[in-house]
Each structure stands twice: as C-alpha cells, then as structure tokens.
C-alpha cells in the first residue's frame, strides 16, 4: 500500500502521467466516437476533455499540475498550424480562383460571429466583462485571448469559450451545412474555419483536403479580420 502511494506521489508529479492521461482519454473518446457510428454528440475532443476533467476532479489534481504534463501535446498546436501551409499550397489553384468570394464570405462571417455573440449575450443580461470575453470566441485561442484582454474581458475565460465554440462547431457544423445544402467543399471548409477555428479545421481535414485547406485559410484570415474589426465595433457600441 505504501509502495502504491509512493508510486502515485512520484507519478502525479512527473509529466508522464498527465501526458499519458491526455493520450489515453483521447484514444478512449475516439474509440467511442467510431463505435457510436461517428455520432456528432460523441465528439472525441469533448469526450476526452470530460474524461480528463473527471480524473482531475477524482484525484484532486489542479489544472497547473495537469498542464505540466499536457503541455507537450498542447505545444504541437503551433507546428500543426504551420503545417496547414501544405494543404493550402496543394489547393492554391482553387483558393486563387475564388479569392473575391472568399474575402466577401469571410468578412460577412466574421461580422456575424462578433455581432450575434455580443447581441445575444447582451440581450440575456451578460455583463460587459462576459461580453468582452465572449466576443472573439470564433478566433484561434492566442489571438482571441489578446483581443479579450484589450476589451476588458478575462483571457482565461475566453480560452475556454473558444474551445467550446470550436467543439460545438465541429459537432454540428457539418450537419447544418448539409441541411442548408452547402455541398461545395471549399464553402464548407471556409464556414468551419471562420466559425470554429482550429477545431473546425481539424474536423474538416478528416473529411476532405479541399475543405481542410479552405478551413485553415479561414482560420488565419478570421484571426486577422477579428483583431482589426472587433476593437472598432466595440468602440462604437460601448
């Protein structure tokens, strides 16, 4: 028994345990997703997050300790984002052919994301701090956090809202686009990347390379558009 305790004390302080926990939780959630006929409700990111949170709560581990191990996974987000240049390059002829359509759709999508999030949260009694934290929710986390801070929101709350937005978009975006008869891969990818950044892009890449390329592009462009537009819009209404 003491041996077991000692082992736990040692393991819970080493990065290996929480790194492995992250990987195992994701494998389990992916297995469930495939077993469940790829039902969007069984989204593997959502499932893995729930499993990790349950284990952290059960073992009384704080998030900082968990992150010491999980940071190695988290770190790879940067290189993965850089590598999106490959599908973008492969699909460049399609992107270039519809540059004007992309610009117009992206700007309208970006404005919709900002205005509807602020408008609805305001109408339901959200505080200015909540509104500022929510406004950049569709943008990739590092940019969203910087914008939220500039507007007087809580960057760490924004990070959570960004992830939830991404998961929600990845879960229901493809279904909604199919219902709306948006069948063009470029349009589907652009919509996923604009509304739900990297998580939507990861989902789009699983389905089709054109969709993945347009989604990665939309993620980058929406980060730029929101960083430029949101502070101006915020100034107009507050």
């Amino acid at each position: 028994m003491t041996n077991l305790q000692e082992t736990w004390v040692y393991l819970s302080a080493s990065p290996l345990f929480h790194l492995t926990l992250t990987l195992v939780a994701f494998q389990a959630a992916s297995w469930l997703f495939h077993k469940g006929g790829r039902n969007p409700l069984l989204n593997p990111v959502l499932g893995a997050v729930i499993l990790v949170v349950v284990v952290l709560k059960a073992t009384g581990t704080d998030y900082a300790t968990y992150f010491e191990g999980a940071q190695f996974v988290h770190f790879l987000l940067g290189p993965a984002t850089v590598s999106l240049a490959v599908p973008l390059y492969r699909q460049w002829h399609r992107v270039r052919a519809s540059a004007l359509a992309i610009t117009a759709s992206l700007l309208c999508g970006s404005l919709t994301a900002i205005a509807s999030a602020i408008g609805i949260a305001w109408a339901l009694g959200g505080t200015p701090e909540v509104l500022a934290s929510l406004a950049p929710k569709s943008v990739t986390a590092p940019v969203a956090m910087a914008i939220a801070e500039e507007l007087g929101g809580l960057p760490s709350l924004t990070a959570v809202l960004v992830i939830v937005t991404g998961i929600f978009g990845a879960m229901f975006g493809p279904l909604l686009l199919t219902l709306l008869r948006v069948r063009n891969w470029g349009a589907r990818g652009l919509a996923m990347g604009t509304a739900s950044h990297g998580i939507g892009t990861a989902r789009a890449l699983q389905v089709n390379e054109t969709a993945g390329a347009f989604s990665g592009l939309a993620m980058g462009l929406n980060a730029l558009a929101t960083a430029l537009l949101l502070p101006i819009l915020w100034g107009l209404f507050s």
Partner: protein, 119 residues
C-alpha cells in the same frame, strides 16, 4: 523527415519573431504558415517527407486541443453564473456564422465544381 520537421519549427520560430517585431495582430504560427507557404511557392512542389510530417500533425490535430479544453475546470463557477447568456450566444452565434459563411461562399463561388457528398 527530420529536416522538414526542423523546417516547420523554424517557420514557427521566424513567425513568432516576425509577429513580435512587427506588432502584427495574428499569432506566430499563422505567420509561420504563411512562411512555409512561401517556401512551397518557391520550391514549386510539396516534398514527400514534408507531406508526411504535415499529414501526421494534422491527423492528430483534434487531440492537441484537449489540454486547453480541460481548462474549463478553472471557470466552472463563472460559466455556471453566466450560463444563459454565454450558452445561448455561443450556440446561436456559431450556427449563424457557419450558415452565413457557407451559404454566401457557395453562392458567390457557384461556378466552382468541387461538389461534396454528405459527411
């Protein structure tokens, strides 16, 4: 393979430096993506090992969001207190954004023929 992984890291590093020096409102990795794209433009094709590295990273991309997602544990109280405005705004706004962007892009780019089947 290792040389292209190095190239990806180098692009990210240069991206971080560029964003910092120029004060750009985008994350370093996004500028890194632009730099790798420019490399490919100059090179004129995707070297096979680079395609493999990129495919590997992108195949695991969903996993990479799990550590940040578990950060929800930090804000359980705040999320509970503002559940109605946050939940409703997030759900409706995300669906509306996907609908507006997707429909507009399909309509504006309607001579493009990359048709999708359901997924």
């Amino acid at each position: 393979m290792l040389n292209y992984l190095t190239l990806i890291f180098l692009c990210q590093l240069l991206g971080e430096i560029g964003v910092g020096l120029l004060g750009l409102p985008i994350p370093g990795p996004v500028l890194g993506m632009v730099l790798l794209f420019l490399f490919l433009m100059v090179r004129g094709r995707v070297p096979e090992p680079l395609g493999e590295v990129a495919g590997g990273l992108q195949g695991a991309m969903s996993l990479l969001f799990v550590p940040a997602g578990a950060g929800v544990i930090l804000h359980v109280e705040l999320l509970g207190a503002a559940l109605a405005p946050l939940g409703a705004a997030l759900v409706v706004s995300t669906l509306l954004t996907i609908a507006v962007t997707g429909l507009l892009m399909q309509w504006l780019g309607r001579n493009d023929e990359t048709e999708a089947s359901d997924d």
